[in-house]
């Protein structure tokens, strides 16, 4: 993507500021996005993005700039401008670069470039008919199919360069069902870091039916109860609670700023001893997986909590240096326009021993929260909220009426200690996570989990 001589010249130019670290990050993206709504292919949009980000770290400060081009004049000029922002004195430092090779190669079968527009269109039309045929109450289906081919090249003053290609395919289905004046929605998605072979096992219409099932079931929903009660969190997307309520608090930038309740707790028991939590960017083809992070560090499996004891935080280059810890391969950025920061990849609570049906049976009165619309946390306090998009009342161990309009609210550190059972049915779900204005791909996961007590915010008081 770039002449190695130019790379060295740019890195050296940036280091002339006397800074200890310089980096060049090149990214080329080709995106295609098809959107279906009202039974029609409403838009077909493609994008071409190419650019180069330059970074200097000097002391505690990061300096960043980018150009939307790979022209050597523009890159060198940007490097000079950025360097002069740090310091006006000039220091020459010798630099040697060697290639950092990939640990593994992922096989891609149906590359997005080799799938015709007509085939992509037919996936969406299948979604529409399957979702509508599921039930007459379905009044609207919105579905998006996106693919991305991304090439990156990273080199830095630590003396290495690496490059990679990432393929991503994402299908989302949103169904609206209506009965009299009640409107309900159902959402499902499938997303992987691989080609269109993702539909070999799970067909687009399977996803459509899953989304329709939720919307239609929720039409009969009753008002959710209000107050503290036992809550069973469903597998897969239930893991968003751990992601939000705990994961963000383990990101090292929050630790450094004393903006997390988990600061200084490594080695301490912070969760029930049945809880083990992991961030693993190496899971093949997972939505949050990558070969190198966006600073060129190889991806890793990082045990965050082991049998209830906090083992590690989530680091990027800068925070690891500052805290004198080892990088964990979690330096991620939205694009070449952004500074990398510590982010999660695929984050999950590991399997426990219990049979999920027995977990359900153990609850006399409570809530089964199966799917979530997402959530939010304040890492400084650990306070969180989650919107339940598919939930049920549990009575005497049985799943009963669906509930509407419910939110879970609580405090991360408290909830971790109140986990009373962990199932053996670990599953994953893809999503997007926003932090500091940057949105990136993440996967969350967990088996069925029982929390002794969470506050449910419904409308029935």
């Amino acid at each position: 993507m770039i002449d190695p001589k130019l790379t060295k010249k740019v890195l050296a130019e940036l280091l002339k500021s006397g800074a200890e670290f310089s980096e060049i990050f090149i990214q080329k993206r080709i995106l295609n996005n098809l959107k279906l709504e009202d039974g029609k292919i409403e838009s077909s949009n493609s994008g071409f993005e190419l650019g180069c980000g330059l970074r200097i770290i000097s002391g505690d400060s990061t300096y960043y700039g980018f150009v939307d081009s790979l022209s050597s004049d523009k890159i060198l000029n940007a490097a000079r401008v950025l360097r002069s922002a740090v310091c006006s004195k000039l220091i020459e430092k010798p630099l040697v670069l060697s290639e950092r090779k990939k640990n593994s190669e992922r096989l891609i079968i149906k590359h997005p470039f080799n799938v015709s527009q007509e085939d992509k269109k037919s996936f969406l039309l299948d979604v529409d008919s399957a979702a509508r045929n599921y039930n007459v109450t379905v009044i609207q289906v919105t579905s998006g199919l996106s693919d991305l081919v991304e090439n990156t090249y990273i080199a830095n003053s630590e003396g290495f360069f690496c490059s990679d290609e990432l393929i991503m395919v994402y299908l989302s289905v949103n169904v609206v069902a209506r009965k009299e004046n009640e409107i309900r929605t159902g959402y499902k998605s499938i997303a992987k870091t691989r080609g269109y072979e993702i539909f070999n096992n799970r067909k687009p219409y399977d996803i459509a039916i899953e989304a329709s099932t939720i919307a239609v079931k929720m039409l009969d929903a009753v008002s959710a109860p209000t107050g503290a009660m036992p809550v069973v969190l469903g597998p897969a997307f239930g893991g968003v609670i751990f992601h939000e309520a705990c994961g963000h608090g383990l990101e090292a930038d929050a630790v450094l700023k004393d903006a997390t309740v988990y600061k200084g707790k490594i080695g301490e028991k912070i969760a029930s001893s049945i809880v083990t939590a992991v961030d693993d960017a190496t899971i093949p083809y997972s939505w949050g997986s990558y070969t190198f992070d966006d600073e060129g560090y190889p991806s890793e499996k990082n045990i965050l909590i082991e049998n209830g004891i906090l083992r590690n935080y989530i680091f990027d280059y800068k925070t690891a240096k500052k805290m004198k810890m080892k990088q964990t391969g979690n330096g991620r950025r939205q694009s070449f326009r952004d500074i990398p920061i510590p982010r999660m990849s695929n984050t999950y609570i590991a399997n426990g021993n219990e049979d999920p049906s027995l977990i359900m049976k153990s609850v006399k009165n409570g809530i089964y929260a199966k799917e979530f619309a997402g959530g939010q946390v304040d890492p400084a306090t650990g306070d969180f909220v989650f919107g339940i998009s598919e939930g049920y009342i549990i009575e005497n161990g049985a799943i009963c009426a669906p509930i509407k309009n419910a939110t879970l609210i609580g405090n991360g550190p408290e909830i971790l200690k109140k986990i009373d059972a962990v199932g053996n049915n670990l599953d994953f779900a893809p999503g997007f996570c926003g932090k500091g204005g940057q949105s990136i791909s993440n996967e969350v996961g967990q088996p069925t989990i029982l929390v002794r007590e969470i506050t449910v915010g419904g409308t029935k008081v």
Binding site: S46, T226, G227, D258, I339, P379, F386, A406
Partner: protein
């Protein structure tokens, strides 16, 4: 740090050739077998500064531009964009836009805006108001100084202030240009400066966070004294917060909380959502949705409005649209495509978040008119209930289609018309239509929030809200 910051990109050479680049792309498009085309160009220069412990944590410069091409061919639309404006790349991108029109649905309403479809005349806005004259006088060093000053003042305000988890300054100078084959060609420049801080305070083992921001056309209008005062107050006031018993009761929503809920209503008024059956306001024109006589307005020409602009995302002039008149729903918000479907005129509400997507429907400056009632009198009027100062989980806690709302909230409990103790880990739940019915009064203290538009609301007194605690 030194004066070398002065060498950083300044706006003086902002994108002087954006229009020229768009014109060149248009000439390529003229040679293609398409019925109509539109070129949308965006160029922006911005500075982002993050301060931590009075030091620069991040300093980031961006000078970026891109173009999006919308083409119509046989009633079908195709779109493609590129951030790489070298000639071969633009050509390739245009080819892709043309190819994309091959698989989209044929629609009789797919064509460029015509002048007779505009609800408002051109020239209702003074473009001088979109740009701060002083913007370019500020060097990077000056901006760092403002951000540092905010931290310095904040730390001195209250002993319980433990830290600042996030303090950022961001400004930008942006130019938008549109050229289409129906003869429209226009461009405008806007500037903005934003500063934000989130303050952590601590008392014993209890932590509390509170934030505040300033948003203006230029850095000279950012009042760091006011921002730090409000952020510290919002953080420290809620120390020692507890839960409350679950109940149905009255709430007063802080202007920023009210503006967030108003933003949900705004999304449900887009003609696109109505026509696709995704809005509870469908078929309700002429109906009194609010019990009170509230006026809700979208005004793309508002003088102080930070979402004001001369024309919308497809070149249609902006204007002032009264959506709720004394509580009665009078119109939806339209771009030309949705206006044609309803046999209406375009209200100039085509929005584009960037050059990366074709026009959608959305708000500009969207606000509910304030009353003359002060906040103190609003509290007295409520007598007893929950003063909601902040909500979290709006994104996941609100379903814009079904209208259900259930979010986490913190604030103060009000008893006998006065603020008593702080509350946290409380939920408030209702649905949009009940919310409209139960909105009793608004205050005089209107404030604006930048959120996919610029949304303004005073404090709101709402009855019959489910408050969830223990």
């Amino acid at each position: 740090m030194n004066n070398a910051h002065n060498k950083m990109p300044d706006g003086s050479k902002l994108n002087k050739n954006l229009m020229l680049q768009c014109t060149k792309a248009a000439s390529i498009l003229k040679g293609k077998a398409v019925d109509e085309f539109e070129v949308y160009g965006l160029a922006s220069i911005s500075t982002l500064i993050k301060i931590y412990n009075l030091d620069v944590e991040n300093l980031s410069f961006s000078d970026t531009r891109g173009m999006g091409f919308r083409i119509f061919k046989g009633g079908r639309m195709g779109y493609a964009y590129t951030s790489n404006l070298e000639k071969g790349e633009v050509e390739k991108c245009i080819e892709k836009a043309v190819a994309n029109s091959g698989i989209t649905h044929k629609e009789q309403y797919n064509y460029l805006p015509l002048e007779e479809e505009f609800k408002y005349k051109r020239g209702l806005i003074d473009e001088k108001n979109l740009l701060s004259e002083k913007f370019l006088e500020y060097t990077t060093e000056d901006k760092i100084k403002i951000a540092r000053e905010l931290e310095r003042i904040t730390r001195k305000k209250d002993k319980r202030v433990k830290g600042i988890s996030n303090l950022l300054y961001e400004d930008s100078l942006t130019e938008i240009a549109i050229i289409n084959s129906a003869g429209f060609s226009g461009s405008y420049k806007t500037s903005s400066a934003f500063i934000y801080e989130s303050v952590i305070s601590r008392e014993g083992s209890d932590n509390s966070t509170g934030d505040y921001f300033g948003y203006a056309r230029g850095p000279e209008k950012l009042d760091v004294e006011l921002i730090s005062g409000n952020a510290v107050k919002r953080s420290t006031m809620l120390l020692g917060a507890k839960k409350v018993k679950s109940q149905v009761g009255s709430v007063i929503l802080d202007p920023f909380v009210a503006a967030q809920l108003l933003g949900v209503i705004a999304g449900m008024l887009a003609a696109d959502a109505i026509q696709k059956g995704k809005s509870l306001f469908k078929g309700r024109i002429g109906e009194k949705i609010f019990n009170g006589d509230f006026n809700i307005i979208d005004d793309g020409t508002l003088k102080e409005g930070l979402a004001s602009k001369p024309f919308d995302g497809e070149g249609v002039p902006k204007g002032r649209t009264v959506i709720f008149d004394k509580g009665v729903l009078t119109t939806y918000l339209y771009n030309t495509f949705t206006a044609r479907k309803d046999k209406m005129l375009s209200t100039g509400n085509a929005v584009r978040s960037s050059y990366k997507s074709p026009p959608d429907v959305g708000i500009s400056n969207f606000y509910i008119e304030p009353s003359a009632i002060s906040f103190e009198n609003l509290i007295k009027k409520m007598d007893k209930g929950f003063y909601v100062m902040d909500i979290i989980g709006l994104h996941s806690g609100v379903n814009p289609i079904s209208g259900h709302i259930s979010v986490g909230a913190k604030g103060m409990w009000i008893e006998d018309g006065i603020l008593t103790f702080p509350l946290k880990e409380v939920t408030i739940a209702t649905d949009i239509l009940s919310f409209c019915k139960n909105l009793e009064t608004v205050g005089s203290d209107i404030k604006y929030l930048p959120a996919n538009g610029y949304i303004g609301s005073p404090s709101m007194l709402v009855r019959n809200i489910a408050i969830g605690g223990n």
